[in-house]
Symmetry: C2
Subunit: 342 residues, 2 copies
DNA sequence: GACTTGTTTGTTATCGATAACATAGTTTCG
DNA sequence: CGAAACTATGTTATCGATAACAAACAAGTC
């Protein structure tokens, strides 16, 4: 079983043709007679031939995969973005090389450096904050670069994202117009989660613009802020600032944790306190009550990115950088119903 | 910006040495004088040199990455397995090439075929069920193969997993000894989710062995069975078999869906009905009440797999196939407290 | 001091595919 | 009918690194 690997040469010899003909038989649009192609492909399969794309990529100086880095594997939203991207790309026979950074831009730097060694056709990163070396590597890579899930002030290449800061405005507006005054924010302080930090900043801006007190900021703990941290933060909030009448969480996961903490303590949501999240995760629609949230359309980010790449990869030279702005949507849930509605 | 790529030759010329010396400077253990190495590495960085691992892999006929396929990106358990694997592998400078199959063995076949073209050092797949061609590809690949998350009857190579069927026994035992008689099972019928199907089979076996009726089987809908499907299945269960006093769900996600459906209908858990899940997902510990579940130790699967690979990759020939059996643990939650305990 | 051993560097061949060019046979069409 | 255009295939050079071998020099040994 650990014999010498079968190469194109072996297939060529078996078929009585040149290696070039075998190579052509594997490329759909190349000129090989149908009969010969069928014979070659069958022989290749019988011999257990597996093409060495290492060699192919080296010689042709191009590859059929896109490198993608996301902060965390275990996040439904990033997973959705990658899935959608993948679905569009695979129609053109392209694959995704996926890596995760653990919300750490140093880790991202290592990952990007390693990915670029593999000569991807393009590279997609999450967010707009990178180390200097990462920026330099990306800028000099000579391939299309896409930054996603954010709208960086000084983009490296293409951008497909939305403003995390502005995405908080509909939530604050909704809570305020339904009579909430003392609104808190949980999370957004974790090092590395720049999108969470942006949302917190946006919250403060929206609150301040309305003349409301924007100082009810509860730390969410270590990244990734998840359900347990949300519950713990809610406990802190309830004991430190018991007159709070609404809370926005950095994500639906922490919002659910906050909700469950309320359930545990017998605090009525939304009657005693309203809770909102971000991300339109599945839990927001299944929790009882359902959680008011913002849908940033993760799949749309992925498919737009893929479509953008397919456009630019067709061209020979790198075309002008493009910028797709995705519009997040407000999703009303039961967790913020105004007291009058109950 | 789209200039010719910088190659080792350029670095060599700039440093006034041969390409071989540059190559050696990049390999930590090679014999190059410290001064010269430092000079070369600095020059390389200044020139923006990025090593072409395509060429390196081709020449040396080996690579530094492990191909891994999982059913779904958006699953905390598989993500944990991959994270743990990655953490162990990266200590040896190895990377992971990750792909997902959407619970489809046809998709898996395509993915495996593409991965093998890249000449990974080893390949890790989830589960034990594959197409004939996948099995053949894996068996002939000439690299270590690991099947995880299962204990296949006829393994291809190494195995790191547990029996999904037997993992149900502690749940059934617990429910039975705490006085539950009419126990239902939600899910495990989705095409593609063989581990879910195994658990359902194990449920039937455990029930039958106790002389209990094992016919309360509720379909969970399309894979991946998630929270919403769990809620819908619970609705079906409550209307079709209203005397049911306990339900085991194929995963904690569907169990939470079921729990939320009960909350919506004002049905008391565990008083009116007990609910158990599988997977020890975060939600199981945060939901109110917490959900009784089985922890299959996803991270342990990942780290054991990685350690196994590091052992075999050190050797020149493929050593004997190994089999690590992970023992899942029972985790008691509030969702199955016996009526007496309340 | 001559010989052995080890360190640092260079030269040449090569991994497995494809680009570029070449050629023989075949079809098209004025 | 014959030149132009196309189809099917082969030949040669090459992508960018590293293995294998070789050589120059330094250090250690008796």
């Amino acid at each position: 079983m650990t014999q010498r690997t079968v190469t194109m040469k072996d297939v060529a010899r078996a078929a009585g043709v040149s290696v070039m003909t075998v190579s052509r038989a594997f490329k759909a649009d190349s000129s090989v007679s149908a009969a010969k192609r069928a014979q070659i492909l069958k022989l290749a399969e019988d011999l257990g031939y597996v093409m060495d794309s290492t060699a192919a990529n080296l010689r042709s100086q191009r590859s059929d995969f896109v490198a993608v880095t996301i902060p965390s594997l275990n996040n439904a939203n990033f997973a959705d973005t990658v899935s959608a991207m993948s679905e569009v790309l695979e129609k053109s026979g392209m694959q995704i090389l996926l890596g995760y950074t653990n919300y750490d831009i140093q880790q991202e730097e290592r990952l990007v450096a390693q990915f670029l060694q593999r000569k991807p056709a393009a590279i997609v990163v999450t967010g707009g904050l990178h180390t200097d070396r990462t920026r330099k590597l990306l800028a000099n890579a000579g391939i299309p670069v896409v930054q996603t899930w954010d709208l960086p002030a000084d983009p490296i290449g293409h951008v497909v994202g939305f403003s995390n800061a502005l995405s908080m405005e509909p939530l604050v507006a909704h809570l305020h117009t339904t009579g909430r005054q003392r609104i808190a924010f949980i999370g957004g302080d974790a090092t590395g989660d720049t999108r969470g930090a942006e949302r917190r900043k946006g919250f403060i801006q929206s609150m301040t613009a309305r003349g409301l007190d924007a100082n009810r900021l509860i730390p969410g703990g270590q990244v990734p802020i998840s359900m347990k941290e949300g519950a713990a933060a809610m406990a802190t909030l309830l004991s430190d600032l018991p007159d709070t009448d609404a809370v926005i969480c950095v994500s639906d996961l922490s919002a659910f944790g906050a909700l469950s903490e309320c359930a545990r303590r017998g605090i009525a949501v939304p009657d005693d306190i309203a809770i909102a999240g971000f991300g339109a995760y599945e839990i927001a629609g299944v929790a009882h009550p359902t959680i008011t949230t913002i849908n940033p359309h993760p799949r749309r980010i992925g498919s737009r990115t893929a479509e953008l790449l397919l456009m630019t990869l067709g061209k020979k030279a790198i075309v002008d950088t493009m910028r797709f702005e995705i519009t997040p949507d407000f999703v009303l849930g039961g967790s913020t119903a105004s007291r009058d509605d109950i």
